[in-house]
Structures are given as structure tokens and as C-alpha cells.
């Protein structure tokens, strides 16, 4: 089970879905306390996995521009403002 927590094997959505299943299982009376603790531990691992994904830093907005006719320089990109509306060529 634990080896499934590798990023390659378990997707974020799968992790969330699994967490959902565990929470539902904990809600039922069918689990013994031992089993419930096992599920909880598994849930903690899933939470850690998801948290790691969610805590990733904010992305960058950049543009690659040409120098001497070649794409070579990365500069930060600012959204064109409303006044540039007319530049849309349609």
C-alpha cells in the first residue's frame, strides 16, 4: 500500500477519492478500533501527499522573446490592458 504513494502511481485525484472512501468507512460501525486506526494512518499519509501538492508555490507568468531572430530571452509577461483591445486582429 505505502509504495502506491509514489507520485507516479497515485494521482492527486485518486488520493482525494481514497481519502473520501476512508472517511466514509470510519463513519460506519463495521470497523473495529484497530481497523479504524489503520484507516486513519492511511488517511494521514494521503493528506500529507495532497498537502505537498497543494502547497506548491505560485507559478510564474513569462514570455520568451527573440534576440537576433532566435527565441532566447525569457522576460516577465504582463497581461495586455484594456487599451490594447484593438490589437486583436479579428
Amino acid at each position: 500500500m505505502t509504495d502506491k504513494f509514489n507520485k507516479e502511481e497515485l494521482s492527486f485525484e485518486e488520493a482525494i477519492d481514497k481519502l473520501d472512501v476512508i472517511v466514509k468507512e470510519l463513519d460506519s460501525d463495521l470497523l473495529s478500533l484497530d481497523e479504524a486506526m489503520d484507516r486513519f494512518t492511511e488517511g494521514l499519509k494521503l493528506i500529507k501527499f495532497c498537502q505537498r501538492e497543494l502547497d506548491k508555490a505560485e507559478g510564474k507568468l513569462e514570455q520568451i522573446v527573440k534576440e537576433d531572430g532566435e527565441f532566447s530571452k525569457v522576460i516577465s509577461f504582463d497581461l495586455p490592458g484594456e487599451e490594447n483591445n484593438n490589437q486583436e486582429d479579428d
Binding site: 494521482s11 492527486f12 485525484e13 482525494i16 481519502l19 473520501d20 476512508i22 472517511v23 470510519l26 463513519d27 470497523l31 478500533l33 479504524a36 486506526m37 486513519f40 488517511g43 494521514l44 493528506i47 495532497c50 501538492e53 497543494l54 506548491k56 508555490a57 505560485e58 507559478g59 510564474k60 507568468l61 513569462e62 514570455q63 520568451i64 522573446v65 527565441f71 525569457v74 509577461f77 497581461l79 495586455p80 490594447n84 483591445n85 490589437q87 486583436e88 486582429d89 479579428d90
Partner: protein, 407 residues
Amino acid sequence: MESKHFTVSEVTKYIKNLLRNDDILNQIEVVGEISNFHHHRSGHMYFSLKDDDSKINAVMFKGNNFNLDFQPEDGQKVRAFGYIDLYVPRGEYQLYVESMIEEGEGDLYQKFLRLKEKLEKEGLFADEHKQPIPEFPKKIGLVTSAGGAAIRDIISVINRRDARVSILVASARVQGSESVGELIESLRYLDNRDDIDLIIISRGGGSLEDLWSFNNEILARGIVGASTPIISGVGHETDFTIADLAADLRAPTPSAAAELAVKDMVSIRNRFNNLNEQLYYKINKKIKDARKELDFILKNRIWRNPELIISDQRQEFDNISNDFSQAIESYFKDKYDEIGKLSLKLDGLSPLKILSRGYSITEKIDDDKSKVVSSIANLEKGDLIKTLLKNGQLLSKVKNIKEASND
């Protein structure tokens, strides 16, 4: 000598006169493809006629267009009859169309269909070429015009849904003669980088001519050949281009392309936070319930007086053995009563008992052997009979035999 100068209006009017007096322009027949068609509220039609290299503005007034036998639309090839004149307020010459007929379907559309059919036959659009779109792309490459509306839509949608995603714009013109080359160059550049998880190629809405760069064979092959997954979002819902067919995933609009590329983390985050909370809440409840159960068990007086278990059991044993002896007793009593009843019954059935109630048994005496007589058919006149009574026997001779009469 002072050089003569003209006002703008004078020049315009001069040119207008030149055009009006030209024999060819006065009455002309023009073949071209309609684009930017607009049927104004006033009833006049404004559009352009174009071919691969040039374009001329045209107007067809209400009085001329009301009896057209077809509905003009973009991309349609037509033959227009009219004259060229100059519209003074804008200083633009235009074709004043007096009548117009269809020339069959537009060339561009025919070209599109031919290319589509060719590439389709070749299997370029087949599912086997489609790459899966990554679930969480970290960095998205964007091929579109840096000044257009499409880029604004795409970037704002991506930022709103998941701010963790990085975007690298490789700008390209999205129409005109340089466009195809730039689109391919930008696409190739982004595909060759090793940090791009997904590419979006996009353009806002427009006429078939406007979108024409996206109906290019080389671009289509570039899209299919790219090792990075590509989402296309060209034009509006109804616009289908060759690039759309070649892409791994086609979005109906630029912002839809952004939505397909990036999951909405706002709702995912909410769901996650909720589940996170629930997991702790549920396990705490489970533990609390178990503790409650344990407390309940510990409260039992058994734990303080274990001998209660033994005395309880002794009492139970006594109860059981009492029950048992009672059961045995009543069993035998029942049997005994049953035997009494049966012997009484047996007694009633004895022949001697019957004799005591006044009945008798008649036997025929025959060679020292007696035979019970149960019917007159057993006897004849003169037979000797023996009658058994309760306290002795009678020996008699049969004098007469009388059959019982059935009345």
C-alpha cells in the same frame, strides 16, 4: 512660382471624379469571396470581396439587395456587378454592388475540405496519435498573439483556477502571411523545451479567412508530431480548423482550452480541507465511542466482587437442577396417568365385563367343539346351543329360527 496645394477634400473629390469617369470602373463585374459580411439594420449590406492577395470593400444597398436569391455569407464565392466609386467621408473607394450571383462554394472552404479529407485518410487525426492531457501541468506553453483577447482569457482563467501553474508565452501572429511560420516556430520551440508539460495553441474568433493559418498542413503535422500534449482553442464553438483536428484535445474557445488544461483548485482545495477535517473528527469519535463502551464495562460490579460470578452461577445451577427434577417428576406422572386410563379402557373391552351388563354369548355345541354364534345362518332347528351368562351357562335346543324383520 508658387506651388499649388490642395485640401484633403479637393484631392478626394478629384480622385472621385477620375473613378467616375473611368469606363471600366463605371460598369464592372468582380469575382471574389465574401468576408466580414454585415447586414446592417438599415437594410444595407456591407462586406469585402477578396482573393488570395487582395481585398476590396463593398456595399449593396437595400434597394438592390432585397431581391437577392441567396443569403450572402462569409467564405462564399460570388460574382458582383456594379461600379467603383469613392466614399468621401472616409476617402475610401469601394464597390457599389447592384446585383450579385453565387459562384459556387468559397475556394477557402473547398481547400479546407480537401485538406481535411486528405489528412483524415492518412490517419493524422486518428486516436492513436492523441496523447493524454496531464492532470496537473506545472508549466503551460502558450502559442497565440501576445496582444489578443484570447491570451487575456486564457491567462485569467488559468490564474483563477490554479495559481500554481506557470505560463510561458511564445507569441505568434495568428493571421496574415507570416502567421503560419510563426505559429510553427513557437510551437516547435515550446515542444523542444523540457519544462513544458502542456501546450495551448489558440486564437479568438473570426471569419474563415481570419482563421486560415490554422488550416495549414505543415502546422497540423507539427501539432501531431509534437511530443508535448497540445490543446487547441481556435475561434468560437462552431469553428473547426485542421489544427483542432490535429490537436490532442480540441476546446471550443480559448477560455475553454484553459479550463480543460487546468483543474479548478478552488473546489478541489475545499473538498480536501473538508476531508482533512472529517478524518480527524471521525477517528476521535471512534475512540470516544470505544472509551465509552469500556467505561460502561468497567462500571459493572463484577469487577469489584468477582465471587458474584460464582454465586450467580451456583444459583443458576440450582435453578436448572430444580427445573430438571420437576420435569422428570411430571414426565413420569403423565405416563402413570396414561397407563391408568389405558387399563380402564382395556377392562371395558373384556367379554366378561359385557356379560356383567346383561349381554350373553351363544355358542353352538358341535362334537365337543363350541363355536360362537353370531348369525342365525350358523344354526338350524334342533341344534344344541350353550348360552354363557355372567354367573353360569344354559344348555338349550333350538326350537325355531326367526329372521329379524327389517321394518
